[in-house]
């Protein structure tokens, strides 16, 4: 970010379309990563959309194609896009100021939710993994059927996201350093 795009004769051509502003949330960038305006803008627009779509897939799974597995994969692919555009610094999200959500933790949380959902029916005297349908009357929307097995799907969803993030973290680790080491950047 030393050179400004207003003085093109001083900027190497590879950095001509490098954005100087912060395009992606949370806006941190590894200083070594090459940036492209196009990719960042597209990701900025697509990322939330794809995440919402993944949630849609998760919930719609009971009635059509989708479900926790597909939803989780879609969300994971959103993170892949983000990773390609923004590098790996933001793979661990922060919840609040103290808890840091790392991919392995997400995987663990997902499995815990799934297993707890499986065990929960025993507390009500039903066998393991039994599911129940709860009907909730929501104003405006009307009656909403909530099946308890949705929680199992939520667990699968979180676990899959965690697995994808973990894959990115491990396979993509040190990618910038490698690029430097291989002399790809001047």
């Amino acid at each position: 970010m030393t050179a400004s795009p207003n003085t093109p004769e001083r900027v190497p051509w590879k950095q001509w379309d490098e954005p100087s502003g912060q395009w992606m949330l949370p806006g941190e960038h590894p200083p070594t990563a090459e940036r492209t305006l196009l990719l960042e803008v597209v990701v900025r627009i697509l990322f939330p959309t794809v995440l919402v779509f993944s949630l849609y897939l998760l919930i719609v799974g009971h009635y059509g194609p989708g479900g926790g597995f597909s939803g989780g994969l879609v969300a994971g692919l959103a993170f892949v896009l983000r990773y390609i555009a923004g590098g790996g610094t933001d793979l661990g999200a922060r919840v609040g100021s103290r808890i840091r959500l790392r991919p392995p933790m997400l995987v663990g949380v997902g499995l815990s939710i799934a297993v707890l959902t499986a065990l929960a029916p025993t507390a009500f005297g039903a066998p393991v993994l039994a599911s129940a349908k709860l009907s909730v009357a929501v104003p405006v929307v009307g009656d909403v059927d909530l099946v308890t097995s949705l929680f199992l799907d939520v667990g699968v969803y979180l676990l899959i996201i965690g697995v994808v993030l973990d894959l990115l973290r491990s396979l993509g680790s040190g990618i910038e350093r490698d690029a430097q080491g291989a002399g790809e950047r001047s």
């Binding site: 066998p127 699968v156 676990l159 697995v163 680790s173």
Partner: protein
């Protein structure tokens, strides 16, 4: 009762939140649950001593699995040890661990989880439930002995403990299954009421005994227990003296009423128990570390308990139950005393401690009180139990009775001797050793010690209480027409007789042995142990490692084509032959049933052929992706949108993963240097494998004779499960257990990938220098991001 056990485990999970604020508060909070458990058990004592309190929760009725619990006299005694001593040890831990101790949060949570597992173990009335809790205690012990894993001694001890106990546990599982199948039920109370017999049961009993003997550190598995003394003292006091090591004794006591009359049960128990008692006592006499001295004492006492509870007979059972209680009440405070001494002087070495008794008379007094119970001096509980033990075998008479009685006498002499050695070593003023200036131990350290030691005194004096417990357990043994056995009751004074003489000989002989300790030491040094159980363990482990290296070297040759060829040839030979013999080409097989299948199929075939000719890795990856998308397209044509969606997504993700991996590999495939003969062979095997899979696909899917019963049922039930999408209903409802299993596999795969990839990261290039070898701390930081 399940709620109590679960409450322990849940509380253990929440405990780190408390310990983040205050270590002491965490131990205080942890002590509440065991305390409540003890009160609950005592409140139900009347029912426990009578018919027994039962509770059953079915958790997978379809598989016949349930959690069934039962509280009876034996369970009550074990709960006094597990919960009662547990609460005291939590209180003691609050004083033992420092305010900033890094080990404390982990230990507090693990100890409470262990208490829950142990509670489940002693309450379980179902052999499989018992097994689950049994292994949980082994795991808790592993983690508690290993601590942070920073010290080699801890790691080795933890590994030895877990290897030995889990080996026993696995053989026990086999025994449990055999016994359960032979009896037709896994309920312990039903098995004991109507014991099965036959060759299968004999094998089952041997296997179960193996589990019990390893867990209770009996000959020749005992070395893990002294080694486990690497754990912090409260852990040793709780797991390795009061509760966990009693699990084996407990199991023997649980099953003895049914099987004690069989030679396959009592012979190994009595012989190994006696041997363990003598060996443990003898080894304790040469130890100079107070804690290891007590550990060998525990080994010895566990052997004693094994003999009493495995021999059968009403009096022996009563004696066993009494000593079970007594041992917890004297060994736990003795460990606490050692912990206190360790804490205030910084050493546990007999040779460095001197004159402590004069400086800390109260500590010496409490140790003396507990030691008296251990040595069997009236009016303590240990004496009451020992008296009954001698009575049991002297009354039985005969070769077995006298041999065992004399063996127990020898063991008791050794017990009295090492008790004297312990008290002398800890507190006596020794010439030539300077007394140290010590600070007073805090109340948190001394009060629990006193309570436990006074418990031994109170129950010794109030022996009718213990008698009621012991009687409740011993009713399982039919006394027959033996009037003395039927009418025997515990008492401090049975009148002058052989048992009293034996007790006196044991104490006096022990003191005499201690007085001649230099001579004993000489004998010790002269007696070289030609056979050592510890060396045996090490040889077995080393042998296993060598075997593993040899097998791995043979099987893992490191050539990918070889692996693939072996896999493919196996597929060709086994399922291929079956297909040729039994397969039938379906008559109604059409080439295609939708026009769009043609271009899709063509695309897959072309991509596959091109893949073989590809020179660049990246091209190959893209072509694999094309094949995957083509197959996804075929899924859509066949009306499986769910499958197609998953296929597309996975394919995309695989592509990304491939690209990440590809950057570490050369852009082009290596030049093929193998001869044309090898290439043709490879091509033949690969081609045959592919064709076989294709044929199998057609033949197997055409082999269905009737419409599948379950899928129609699934479609009918799906709306009931709240899903109009039958795939989803299958995944999260009808076959939800499979889903949970699959995501567990995913978790393991993700963890494995991450560890493998990240483990190789540290020898990457950094600042122009290639660094290799072990990872540095900052490297770890990077991985844990």
């Amino acid at each position: 009762m399940l709620a109590l056990v679960v409450a322990h485990l849940v509380m253990a999970g929440l405990l780190p939140v408390v310990s983040a604020r205050s270590r002491r508060a965490a131990f205080g909070v942890a002590a509440v649950l065991p305390g409540a458990t003890l009160i609950w058990a005592l409140a139900n004592a009347r029912e426990a001593l009578g018919p027994g309190l039962e509770a059953t929760t079915g958790w997978a009725p379809a598989l016949g699995l349930e959690f069934s619990f039962r509280l009876d006299a034996l369970g009550l005694v074990m709960i006094i040890l597990v919960a009662g001593l547990g609460a005291l040890i939590f209180a003691y831990s609050a004083g033992y661990f420092g305010r900033k101790s890094r080990d404390a949060p982990r230990s507090a949570a693990l100890l409470l989880a262990f208490a829950g597992a142990m509670l489940g173990l002693v309450l379980a009335d179902d052999l499989l439930t018992l097994y689950v809790f049994w292994e949980l205690t082994s795991i808790a012990s592993f983690l508690l002995v290993g601590q942070s894993g920073e010290h080699r001694a801890n790691r080795r001890a933890a590994l030895q403990a877990v290897l030995v106990t889990v080996f026993g546990g696995l053989s026990m599982l086999m025994g449990i299954v055999l016994l359960g199948e032979a009896a037709g039920t896994y309920r312990i109370s039903q098995i004991v009421a109507a014991p099965p017999s036959g060759a299968m049961v004999t094998a089952a009993l041997v296997l179960i005994l193996l589990g019990a003997l390893t867990k209770s550190a009996q000959l020749p598995f005992h070395p893990w227990l002294p080694a486990a003394m690497a754990a912090p003292t409260p852990v040793s006091a709780y797991l390795h003296a009061a509760s966990m090591v009693k699990a084996g004794v407990y199991l023997v006591a649980r099953l003895s009423p049914a099987f004690a009359d069989r030679a396959v049960w009592w012979v190994p128990v009595v012989v190994l128990g006696l041997g363990t008692m003598l060996l443990g006592g003898w080894r304790a006499l040469q130890e100079i570390d107070l804690k290891r001295l007590l550990a060998f004492g525990t080994v010895s006492q566990l052997g004693f308990l094994m003999v009493l509870l495995g021999a059968g007979g009403r009096i022996a059972a009563m004696a066993g139950l009494t000593l079970l209680l007594a041992h917890g009440l004297f060994k736990a405070p003795l460990f606490m005393v050692v912990g206190t001494i360790d804490k205030i002087t910084g050493t546990r070495d007999i040779g460095e401690l001197s004159g402590l008794g004069r400086q800390l008379p109260a500590l010496a007094a409490v140790a003396g009180l507990a030691g008296m119970s251990m040595a069997g001096i009236p009016p303590l509980l240990g004496f009451v139990g020992k008296e009954a033990a001698f009575e049991a075998f002297l009354h039985e008479g005969g070769t077995r009775g006298w041999t065992v009685a004399l063996g127990l006498l020898a063991g008791s002499v050794l017990t009295a001797a090492y008790t004297a050695r312990f008290l002398w070593g800890a507190f006596a003023a020794k010439p030539g050793v300077e007394a140290r200036e010590v600070s007073r131990p805090t109340l948190a350290l001394t009060v629990p010690t006193w309570i436990a030691a006074l418990g031994g005194l109170a129950l010794g004096a109030g022996y009718p209480l213990v008698d009621a417990l012991a009687d409740g357990y011993a009713t399982a043994y039919p006394a027959g027409d033996d009037a003395l056995a039927a009418g025997y009751h515990l008492a401090l004074w049975h009148g002058l007789g052989l048992p009293l003489a034996f007790s006196a000989v044991a104490v006096l002989g022990g003191l005499a042995l201690h007085a001649r300790r230099t001579a004993v030491n000489v004998v010790h040094t002269r007696l070289r142990h030609p056979v050592s159980a510890q060396r045996g363990y090490e040889a077995v482990v080393a042998g296993l490692e060598r075997l593993a290296v040899r097998v791995t070297g043979r099987v893992q040759v490191g050539s990918l084509p070889t692996y693939l060829a072996i896999l493919l040839i196996t597929v060709l030979v086994l399922p291929g032959t079956a297909l040729l013999i039994g397969g039938q080409w379906p008559d109604d097989q059409m080439p295609f049933h939708s026009l769009i299948q043609l271009p899709l199929g063509l695309m897959v075939i072309i991509a596959a052929l091109a893949l073989v000719r590809a020179h660049r890795r990246f091209t190959a990856v893209l072509l694999v992706g094309a094949i995957g998308y083509g197959i996804g397209g075929l899924f859509i044509v066949d009306g499986a949108p769910d499958l197609a969606l998953a296929q597309f997504l996975v394919e995309t993700l695989t592509l990304v993963a491939f690209v990440f991996v590809l950057r570490r590999l050369p852009a082009h495939f290596a030049e093929n240097t193998s001869s044309s003969g090898t290439r043709i062979r490879k091509a033949l095997i690969a081609g045959a494998g592919g064709i076989l899979v294709a044929i199998a696909g057609v033949v197997l899917s055409g082999a269905r004779e009737a419409p599948p019963a379950t899928s129609a049922e699934f479609v009918r039930l799906a709306p009931e499960a709240g899903a109009t999408n039958v795939i989803s209903a299958i995944l999260v409802d009808f076959r939800a257990l499979d889903t949970v299993g699959e995501i567990t596999v995913l978790l393991i795969a993700a963890a494995g990938t991450a560890s493998l990839v990240l483990a190789t990261r540290h020898d990457r290039r950094r600042d122009g220098q290639v660094k290799s070898g072990s990872g540095s701390p900052e490297h770890e930081e990077e991985l844990l991001r």
